[in-house]
Every structure is written in C-alpha cells, then in structure tokens.
C-alpha cells in the first residue's frame, strides 16, 4: 500500500555533519521514491554542512537559521534578578513559540494518514509542543539502550516518548529493554544498508581493515593491543586503519610504543569505503559502544568477513557469530586477537564467511527496510 502519504522527517538539523543527517536524507529519498510526499524538517541549519550526494527533490525546512539558544537556568540568586538574562530568555521563548507555530502550520497541511518521524531526541522538544492532531508520531533512537541509559537522554526519553504512537529503537533486544522500563509503545527498526557493491572484495590482499573515527568510542587503542598479539604470528599481514579524529596522535604514539609501525598503516579519512574494503580481506571493529553500525554492514556487503567486539545488540543482530563473522566478548583483547588469527589464518573460512555475510546482510537492504516501514505505517493505522 504505497499510495502516497505525507511523511515528515524531523531531525536536529537539516545538514549537520553526521550519521543521522545521512540517514535522514537517505530515508527521505527512499520514501519519496515510493510515492510518499516527504518533507524534511530540521530544528536549525548547521554551519558545518554535510555534502549531500544530490540536491533533494523534496522540501527541506529549517525552523531556525542557526542553533537556537539553550534555555536559561539561573545560576544563584543574583542571576535570578539579572534583567538581560530574563530578556534573552523571553526572546528565546518567543522564538520557540514561533518555531512551534510554524511547525504546526506545516503539519496541519498534511492529509489524513500522515506520519511524523522524529529522528533525534532533541527535536522532540518542538514536535511535542506542535499540533500533531491527525498525524501519527514516531520517535526514534539511533543508539543502544545501554548507551541511552548511561546518558541524560534516558529520563528525557522516558518522560517525552512514552505517549507517542511508536518509539522505535534499533533491535528487538533494545526494544525489550525499553519495554522493561515501561515503554510499551516500543518497536524496532534496523538501519538500512545503503547499497550492495556490484563486485565483492576479492579477499586476496593480506590486509585487515578498520574504518571509523579515531575517537575513544571506537576503541582503536584496544585494536592496537589486540594487533600486537596478532602481528608476530602474521608477519605478512597489515592492519589498515581508515579514519581521522582527535585521538590520532595518541594512537600513533601507542602504535610506535607497541612496535607495530611496520604492520599498521594509517590511511586517514576515506570517502571511498567500498574501495577500501575491496583492498582488504578481513574487517575488524573494536568499539566500546555502537548502535547499529553501518561500517560493519558495508564490510559484509563487500563480502569481507568481520571480527568485532560484541558491544551492543545491534552488533549481534548484524553479525551472526560463527556464521558470517566472529564476535569476541566486549573488551576481551585476547579473544579479539584470537578471532583475527582465525580469520587471517584460514582463507577457506574467510571465503565462506564473506560470501555468507554478503548474502546475509541483504536482510537489511533498503527495499526490505522500506517494506517494514510501510508495514509499520499500516499497523499504526489499524
């Protein structure tokens, strides 16, 4: 049933650099293709903009020209009586009211059966106040339950998302956890795999690839420690680390300290992920926390078998341990090294797992995910 609906995709920003923006536009494009009338709304336009692949063929609206000011919280008694602060706060409230009205106006034009998808928690502050009568509102989270639980967002989600028509998380396991906290409206929707490279990686290069920002969350420090156990036994293999980030200098120093300079290559940021994967035979992910990691899916789509830390339900969902990749208990460096040794030491296992991974990961193909979205829209109407 893909006779056009009005679909509003609301995010923090329309063009901020980041994974969610990419997801927003990709999903908007897919809905547009299926005949829905999509309208993408951001709370604000960002300064650091993201290069969108092609100009969007759907309306894009930013409620604010720049990041709106954060609410004023008086610091101590004196601040309470400071007039400029109060005036700024009044202006902020007024601007917010205007933005909410504008949003309500957009929503009101929708025909029956319309859907609002709120991709980020912060944007919900505006949608929650807007007039969504006649529309179904779906809230989304792009992180695992544990990650939300540890952050300030947890309480916010529990108080603002419990009354929505649907609260979507990434995996069934996360959904169960949220339901345990009383969020009965929870459902799950995995991220979609962007595309399938026409040719899988030949898996001939003796290279292990890691793709991700060089930040603490991605756990490259643990990867280097694990590689220090692997390298002496696989002298002809190299570890190719793609990505850049704030920890680069420290990581390079650690690499030198471990004496791995000969077998680790720092490749920097890459825009050609399939190309990088085509030049490697094994993919490794050593993150401390993940949601539904796209990099892992891309590697599998390229037919590259993965070794990864089992750090989130999303990882378990994508990689079926032992079938199309190998998982190690999160943080267990010895185990990760063991998985790498197994994958690098056995070309037949690599091929078998890689092929299975390429087939298996297609259960998250865009067509499949869009079908699930359509099902969800239909369910909310029943």
């Amino acid at each position: 049933m893909s006779t056009g609906r009005d679909v509003f995709v609301v995010a923090n920003s329309t063009d901020e650099l980041g994974g969610v923006t990419g997801w927003t536009h990709r999903t908007a494009h897919l809905f547009q293709e299926r005949g829905h009338r999509v309208h993408t709304i951001g709370v604000h336009a960002a300064e650091l903009t993201m290069a969108l692949p092609d100009p969007p063929d759907y309306p894009v609206t930013a409620l604010y020209p720049a990041h709106p000011p954060t609410p004023w919280e008086p610091q101590g008694v004196r601040d309470r009586f400071r007039i400029p602060s109060r005036r700024r706060e009044a202006a902020r409230v007024k601007a917010k009211r205007k933005a909410v009205e504008r949003l309500s106006g957009i929503f009101r034009e929708a025909r029956p059966g319309g859907v609002v998808i709120v991709t980020q928690v912060w944007a919900m502050e505006w949608v929650g106040e807007a007039d969504t009568a006649g529309l179904k509102v779906i809230g989304m989270s792009h992180e695992s339950y544990d990650y939300s639980r540890a952050s300030h967002r947890y309480r916010w989600i529990k108080s603002h998302y419990a009354d929505l028509d649907r609260w979507l998380v990434l995996t069934e396991e996360d959904a169960d956890d949220w339901a345990g906290d009383g969020m009965d409206n929870v459902g799950f929707m995995p991220n979609a795999l962007a595309g399938l490279p026409p040719v899988p990686s030949p898996r001939t290069a003796k290279s292990v690839a890691s793709i991700g920002r060089l930040t603490d969350q991605k756990g490259i420090d643990m990867l280097l420690d694990a590689w220090a156990l692997v390298a002496p036994r696989r002298p002809d293999w190299t570890l190719d680390v793609y990505g850049a980030g704030e920890d680069e200098a420290a990581l390079r120093a650690q690499c030198t300290g471990l004496g791995l300079d000969g077998s680790v290559r720092w490749r920097g940021r890459t825009d050609d992920v399939p190309g990088a994967l085509a030049r490697s035979s094994v993919f490794v992910q050593s993150s401390r926390g993940e949601g539904f990691p796209l990099a892992l899916m891309e590697a599998m789509a390229s037919g590259v078998p993965c070794a990864a830390f089992d750090c989130a339900p999303g990882v378990r969902e994508i990689v079926r341990d032992g079938q199309d990749g190998l998982l190690a208990p999160a943080g267990d460096i010895g185990a990760l090294a063991d998985r790498l040794l197994r994958l690098t030491g056995n070309p037949r296992m690599r091929d078998a797992m890689g092929d299975r991974a390429r087939t298996g990961v297609q259960r998250f193909s865009e067509a499949e995910i869009v079908r699930r979205w359509e099902e969800l829209f239909a369910l909310l109407e029943r």
Partner: protein
C-alpha cells in the same frame, strides 16, 4: 464493521460494575483500533452490571458487544466459553475480573502474531499486591521472558505449563482455537488454568513478547477454591503426561507446592480459626496423592513440613509451620532428636518430609534458640487481662526446673519497659504452658504521646540464661471485645483505651486509642495542628534544611574542600596515614609495616583509618573514620600514605607526600587495565583510574610475575617497584621456621579464643570475591559448609573466611566444626593457624604456598570464571595442590589428605618460587629501610636483627 483484529472476552465477576468498567475502558482505550470488547452476561447478572454494559453498548455499538446468555453466574467458565464461540476477531483474548489491558497491548500482540505467524501470543502480566496498593509480576516471569522470542517446543519455555503462566495476558488465533476446539472447563471454579495449558500444548508456534499486557489482576488468594485448584493441577499433569512431556509434569509437580500450597501455609496466621479448620479439612480431602513424595522432598525443610501437615489436615500444626516460615530460624514445634541423630519436626512415625535436621536447631541450646510462644487465650475484664499460652520446647534442650518467667511490655522503638511475673508455669515433655494475670490499666502507664504502641513478650530466666520470645497469636485471637481501659499520664484526653492487636509480624501488641468523645476531640485537634498548612510548610522547610546539611556532608563537597583548601596546608613531617582494605580491617601489609615502625621506634606520627567500626583496631593508636573531615585533614597533611588497596580515587596526593602501596595480593585474575570492564569504560573513567594509580611512589612486588602482571596492568613505571616481597608474609616465614624446629602445637592464643582443640586439624576456607564493585551483600558460598562439617566434623575444624567485601551466611553446624572468621582482621594469623587451605582464585594461595602446607583448590566454576574475568596463567597447569571441581572431588581429597598432598610438594615449591621469589621473611624491615630511611636514627639502624641476616 469488518472483522476486528482482536476480540476481548469480558465476563463480570465479584468486582461488579466497577471492575467491568475498568476492563471495558482499557479495551476501548487500545491504540489498535480494530478491537472489540465482548461482554458476556450470565443469567442472573446484577442490574448495575447490566446497566453498565448497556451504557457501553449504546456509546460504542461497533466496538462493544453485549451477549446475554443463560450461563450460571457462579461459574465464569460457561460465560467465557459462550464468549469464545461468539468472538469474531482474528485473535481472541479473555480478560479476568477487573483486569486492564495496557494501552498498546493489542497492538503488540497483533504485531507479534502477524510477524511470527504464531498461534498463541503471550506476554507478561502483573497482579495487585495483597494490600492492593501496588502491582507485582510473579517472580518466575523473568525466566519465561528473558527476551521476546518464538518457541515451538514447550521445553524451551517450561514455565508456560509448569507455572500457571497462561491465565491471562495471552491471545489465541481464532482459527487455531476452532481447530482444536479448546474451551474452559465448566466444572472447575474461577481459578482455572487448564485452558491456557491446553492451548499451549495444542498450538504449534508460541510467540512470547516481553511486554506487560495485562495489569490489575486480583491478588492471589491462596485459600480461595483449593479443591478447584488441585483438580486443575491434576488435569494439567494428566495433559502433560498424555502428551509425553514427563519431564515437564515432574517439574510442575515440584512447582505446584511452592506456588500454591506454601503461600496457603504462609497465610494461615491471618485467617480466622474456622477458616483454618475448613481449609485443613479440604486439604486433607483433596491433597493426598497430589504432591508425589520425591517432589515434596525437594522443598526446603520448613516448606516441606508445612505442606505435609496441610496434607494431613492438621490445622494447628500448619499454624506452627506458618510461624516458622514467617520467622525464619525459629523453632515452632517440639523437635525430636532420634537415635540416629536425625531431627524430626515432632514425635511420631519417622517421616522424611518432617525431617528438619538441616535447620541445625539441634546444635543450639536453650537461650540461643528462638522459640515459638503461642498465645492461646486472651480475656479482658475491667482493667485486668488473663493471658494463657504455650512455649514450645525442643526435646534436646530446655530450662532447668527452677526457671522463672516474666511478661514484659515494651514501648515500641523506646527503652521503657514494665514486667510482671508469670503466675503459673507448667512444664511437660514438649513445652511450657503458662498463665498470667495482669492489671493492664495500672501496669501500663504511657505518657500518651510517642509511646502509644507497646509490644508484649515473655522472658524465661534460668540462672544466667535468658530466652526471649514474642507472643505469637493468630490474627483473630484478639479483637474489639478485648479492650481494656487506659490511664495515660497526660490524662484521659491523650487516650482512654488499650486495644490489643496482632502485628504484621504476628505478635501481640497494644495500641492506645481514643474511643470516648473528649479524647477523640483532642486527637482531632492535634492531628489538625500537625497537618494544617503552616505545619506542612514547616515540615517541608525542615526537610530542605536537612537536604542542605546532607550536601555539606556529602563526599562531593568534602572532595572539593579537600582540593581547594586542605591541600594548601603544609605537610606535617613524620606523619603517616595507614589504611588496610579501605578501612575495613587492621591487618595485611600496612599493619606489618606499622608494627615494624613501632618496633624500631621510628619517630612517626601514625594514624589508622577505619570504616564503620573501630573494633579490632589498636586502642592506643590515633584512629580516624574513613571519609570524615578529620580523615581528609590527616591525608592532606601526611608525609606518608600507606595502604594496600587505594585511598579514595578522587583525592589528589599532596605534593610532598610519599605513597607506599603495599598491594593486597599477587594476581591470578586479570586486573586493572587488563580487565575487560575497565577497558570498556569510557575515557574519563579510565583516566580517573590511571591518575589514581599514578599517585603510587612505591609499589611492592613479590616476584617477576607481579612485575609482568600488576605493574603492567596498572602501567606503573619501573622506578616505583620495590622488590621486597610482602611484609604481611614475614610471619609465615617465622611460622615455617617454628614448624621445622618445634612443630605446630601448641597452637597459641588465637586458637584458644576460637575454641579450636588440638585433636582436630584446622582447615581454612577462603574463597575469593565474586561480586562487582559496589555490590555488597550476602552471597552463597560455593562450598556447602554443612556437608563438609557433617562428613569431616570429627577430623577437621573449618574456618570460613569470606572476602573482606562480603559476609558469609553460614548454616548452623555442630559446635567446633565450622567457625566464621570473616571478622578477623589479620589473615596472616589465620594462615599460620591453618593446617590446610581451601581456596579458589584468591591471592591467599600465593601466600599460603610459602608455608609449605597442604593446599587444595576448590574451583567449581574454573572455566567460566577464567573466561569471564580472564586469567594470567592456567591454574590447572601451575596449581600448587589438587584442583577439585566438584564437592565430591574435594571430599575425596580430604579423605586422604596426606596421600593427596605428597604428590604436590615439588609443584608447591615451584609455585612459591615463581610467585613469591622476593619473599624472604624480611620484607617489613626492607620496606622500612627503603621508605622511611630519613627517619632512621643511627641506633635503630644498628640494633635491628635483620642486619646480620644479610
């Protein structure tokens, strides 16, 4: 309207119109719109219920259908079956009396059913607690719903038929319902669980969703329709048997007494006497043959006794068992010790179900036992009352013939008490019957404010031995007829009547009440004065002030003051702060260093930190409580910090201070940054740990193993390592020298204090810490101590030392067989005392190996532990003694300890060499030389005995 997605069958019940409205409202409020409520009205429905149903049908005719049937009103099964036949939805769901569907329940069920193709979709449900204030899920539901899942075999989700899981909160595909034609059993009462079980065994796929579907189910009433419940249980058993699911049937037979019968026993004291007798009679009629003997014997002892007595229809006996259930550890029957040493609940034919040997009461004497003292009669006449009761005495112990008894009345939460002698005491074989008269009005003189509740208890005195017992009474023993006049000291306006009542803990107590007008008026006035608006405001203000005060005492505030003010203070030369295991004990290496400092007369100002209690710390020393202001002050000014685990992580070390970290043991499991938990923590947390560890100026190591593991794991620079060995182990060398020169006996003063005799060998059991950080609590020991005592009690005394962060909960064992030494501060002394050691992964194994005495590793979870925590070496390969993985293997080793041990001498020596190479018995001396060199005067340098050893 096209066929709805879900039909909800609702039948009115004892809850009447209100309950019906609750249920129907919850259906109409569903987020899934295509849901119909099918209200089935029996023949003789109450007019108000009929009217309520009619209103809904009028208001939402397309969503509420009312079905008038001629079903009898007392059997809801007939009406439900009518509803099942009339349902039109794709799925059918039955709601019980007053049950509410959660808002998204139908959407969740429908989606799960469609997505998985299951014919039965079940979710969680909750019921009201007994007082009706809260909702509670049955405890086994966690096991049934670990994750949302689909099961095709019942053995994957045994709880579905083993417990009564499918009584609500599930829906059935109507097609499946029609296929196997299941209906509610119309000859069974309301507690029918057969339908769900039958559905579960009939359908192919079952989807289990981990969402709460139904709430507000009526509280479990254990006494309600016992016969019907037993019959339902019997039918489910037969059903399972017929389906060839014998294992599930057996499991159900074990679960049924715990789910249904034990709660009934538990509820006995709250029931009126007639009801107790009726239930016991019913139980005697229907229960025999219902709980097979093997299933009964799997229950814990008191539960088992309760069920057995219920089976026999012994209402009084069940009441006693209920008391023992509700007050764990008390004796509620005249226990009989038989000739073979087994203990029976009471005299009579030997019955394995009444065998309560494992409770261990036989090892305790009168005065140590908590005895049931049951009040049997209460009469009030004017100001006087007559109390009669009976104190149960176990066969093996009791007071002497000259015992006297007192009744004591004590203000609750207060110190004031009055007592009067018990007039009549008649002792017989199984107890003491007593009778006392009291003039309550003159005896109890409360002030009238804050002392309105008084508890009664009895004290039996036999020379120096006292036995105190509360007066246990069934809840219907006293009532409004038993009031006595009261005379508070503030006058009759403060209260005028004593009302005896039975507390939630089943004992007799008295409440001062205001029954006459003057007192009632005063009460109302006082209540108004303490509750009207200004009083409420004042209370809020007080609470806010309290919060502010708490903030000033909080650790966060103390830390900030420490950093911004205390650290500016100059360091006091020669002052040292000692701490061992975060202040929990005076022991380990810091103690050894401290004693060495004292022995050599170093001019140091030593301060010890203690947590919680000063017990066991040397009286003459300066003591500061951990985290007190004084503690922070001392830390900020100390020249030396000496500790074996870590001063609070957040505290920076003053710039002029030297930190001696003696550490608390070599490592088998992975530590510090080698530990998974730490590695996965986020960057700020890891940095905090690294900063805390970088405070160390000296770190003691016992061997190169420590350098490879601990020093590496905490990233300690080489210059901080002191290769001296542990000062705490010096005593072990002294002990070993003594062993070799003069033997191990006599054992010394500590053995005497613990009551160890020379003809039994001493075995120390010291398991490692199992929990994560911050989780304190009692945990079961891996070793069944009672079994060990039973088997080896005549040969070994077992000293049990739980880890310093945990406390063991030891069963009662014969005297002299098991001794809890968890509170003992100095492990070294215990190691010296022990002739053999049992441990698992604790670092004491590295220390004990130095003594060259038998060492047994009892590690039932070796592989999982090593996989979860990670280890530095293979314990089996390097073990300094036999590794037992089951209790039987361990007992086998202890049967022939000497023989088992001789084979391990070489391994033990190698083990001691590898992990304790730097331990030479002079560690304390060497550490003092290295760290406190500045304070060593010439005299103390020359007069030390360690000098000539080098």
């Amino acid at each position: 309207m096209s066929a709805p997605d879900v039909s909800c069958v609702i039948t009115p019940g004892p809850g009447g119109a209100a309950a019906l409205r609750t249920s129907v409202d919850s259906v109409l409020d569903q987020s899934l719109r295509a849901v119909e409520a099918l209200v089935v009205l029996p023949r003789d429905t109450d007019a108000s219920v009929r009217a309520a149903a009619g209103t809904y049908a009028g208001r939402a005719p397309d969503r509420v259908r009312v079905l008038d049937t001629d079903a009898p009103g007392d059997v809801p099964a007939v009406a439900r079956n009518a509803g099942l036949s009339a349902a039109r939805g794709t799925y059918v769901l039955v709601l019980g009396d007053g049950e509410r569907l959660r808002r998204h329940a139908c959407r969740t069920l429908w989606e799960a059913g469609e997505r998985t193709g299951a014919e039965l979709v079940a979710g969680c449900w909750s019921r009201l607690t007994e007082d009706g204030a809260k909702e509670q899920e049955p405890p086994w539901q966690h096991a049934l719903f670990p994750r949302s899942r689909v099961v095709t075999k019942l053995t994957d989700a045994p709880e579905l038929v083993v417990r009564d899981a499918l009584v609500t909160g599930f829906c059935l595909r109507r097609a499946a319902l029609e296929r196997f034609g299941a209906r509610y059993d119309e000859d069974l009462g309301p507690g029918d669980s057969v339908f769900g079980a039958r559905a579960a065994v009939s359908v192919g796929r079952i989807a289990l969703v981990r969402r709460r579907i139904v709430s507000g189910r009526a509280a479990a009433d254990p006494g309600h329709d016992l016969a019907g419940r037993v019959e339902a249980h019997r039918r489910i058993r037969e059903l399972l048997e017929a389906r060839g699911a014998g294992a599930l049937r057996e499991e159900r037979e074990r679960a049924f007494p715990l789910d249904r019968l034990v709660p009934l026993v538990h509820a006995f004291p709250a029931l009126p006497a007639a009801e107790r007798d009726r239930l016991a009679a019913t139980a005697a009629r229907v229960l025999p043959g219902c709980v097979p003997e093997p299933a009964l014997l799997t229950l814990p002892p008191v539960e088992r006794v309760g069920v057995r007595l219920l089976e026999r229809g012994d209402a009084d006996g069940v009441l006693g068992a209920a008391y023992a259930l509700r007050r764990r550890g008390s004796v509620a029957a005249p226990l009989v010790v038989r000739d073979d040493g087994r203990v029976q609940w009471r005299d009579g034919e030997p019955d394995p179900a009444l065998d309560v040997t494992e409770l261990g009461h036989q090892h305790r004497a009168f005065g140590e036992l908590r005895l049931m003292n049951r009040l049997t009669r209460y009469e009030a006449e004017g100001g006087g009352v007559l109390l009669e009761g009976r104190l149960v005495l176990p066969g093996h112990t009791g007071p002497g013939p000259a015992a006297t008894a007192w009744l004591e009345f004590r203000v609750r939460d207060g110190a004031r008490a009055v007592r009067l002698p018990v007039g009549e005491l008649r002792r017989d074989a199984t107890g003491i019957s007593w009778r006392a008269r009291a003039d309550l009005t003159r005896l109890l003189r409360p002030v009238g404010v804050r002392d309105t509740l008084w508890d009664a208890r009895m004290i039996v005195e036999d020379g120096p031995v006292h036995a105190v017992s509360d007066l246990f009474a069934p809840h219907d023993l006293v009532g409004p007829a038993h009031r006595s006049p009261a005379r508070p000291r503030l006058g009759l306006l403060a209260g005028d009547t004593w009302q005896p009542y039975v507390t939630l803990k089943d004992h007799l107590a008295f409440r001062l009440e205001a029954r006459h007008r003057p007192a009632r008026t005063v009460r109302r006035a006082v209540h108004y004065a303490t509750h009207f608006r200004p009083a409420r405001k004042a209370r809020l203000l007080l609470r806010a002030l309290g919060r502010r005060r708490d903030r000033l005492r909080s650790r966060a505030f103390k830390i900030s003051v420490y950093h911004s003010w205390f650290l500016r203070l100059p360091v006091r030369a020669g002052s040292a702060v000692f701490e061992s295991h975060m202040g929990t004990c005076y022991g380990d290496s810091p103690r050894a260093v401290h004693q060495e400092v004292r022995r050599r007369g170093l001019p140091l100002r030593c301060v010890w930190s203690y947590d919680r209690s000063r017990d066991g710390f040397p009286a003459g020393e300066r003591l500061v409580r951990r985290w007190s202001w004084r503690y922070l002050w001392e830390l900020a000014r100390a020249e030396y910090w000496i500790d074996n685990q870590g001063f609070p992580q957040h505290l920076r070390k003053p710039s002029g201070t030297t930190y001696l970290q003696t550490w608390h043991g070599s490592a088998y499991k992975r530590m510090g940054f080698d530990e998974t938990r730490v590695r996965m923590a986020n960057a700020p947390r890891r940095e905090l740990l690294q900063r805390a560890v970088h405070r160390f100026d000296h770190f003691l190591v016992r061997s190169e193993h420590d350098v490879r593991t601990l020093a590496h794991a905490y990233r300690l620079p080489e210059r901080t390592l002191l290769r001296t060995g542990y000062p705490r182990n010096d005593v072990l060398f002294t002990a070993r020298a003594r062993d070799e020169s003069e033997g191990r006996l006599p054992r010394g003063p500590l053995a005497e204090r613990l009551g160890l005799d020379d003809h039994r060998q001493v075995v120390l059991y010291a398991p490692t810490f199992r929990g994560g950080p911050g989780r304190r609590g009692r945990r079961r020991l891996p070793l069944d101590v009672a079994r060990f005592a039973e088997r080896f009690g005549d040969r070994y005394t077992l000293l049990v030392r739980a880890h310093y962060l945990e406390a063991a909960n030891l069963p009662v064992c014969p005297p002299g067989t098991v001794v809890d030494v968890s509170d003992h501060h100095d492990t070294g002394e215990l190691l010296v005392l022990a002739d053999a050691l049992i441990t698992d992964y604790s670092s004491v194994m590295f220390d004990y190996a130095l003594l060259d005495r038998p060492l047994v590793l009892f590690a039932p979870d070796l592989d999982t532990y090593a996989a979860e925590r990670g280890s530095y070496f293979d314990l089996r390969e390097k073990a300094p003694g036999p590794v037992a993985e089951t209790e039987d293997e361990l007992f086998e080793v202890f049967e022939r300890l000497k023989a088992a041990d001789t084979g391990f001498q070489a391994e033990r020596a190698a083990f001691a060499r590898e992990f304790g190479g730097y331990d030479r018995g002079d560690a304390a001396h060497a550490v003092v030389d290295a760290v406190f060199a500045r304070h060593l005067s010439r005299t103390s340098r020359t007069t030390d005995p360690g000098e000539d050893r080098r």
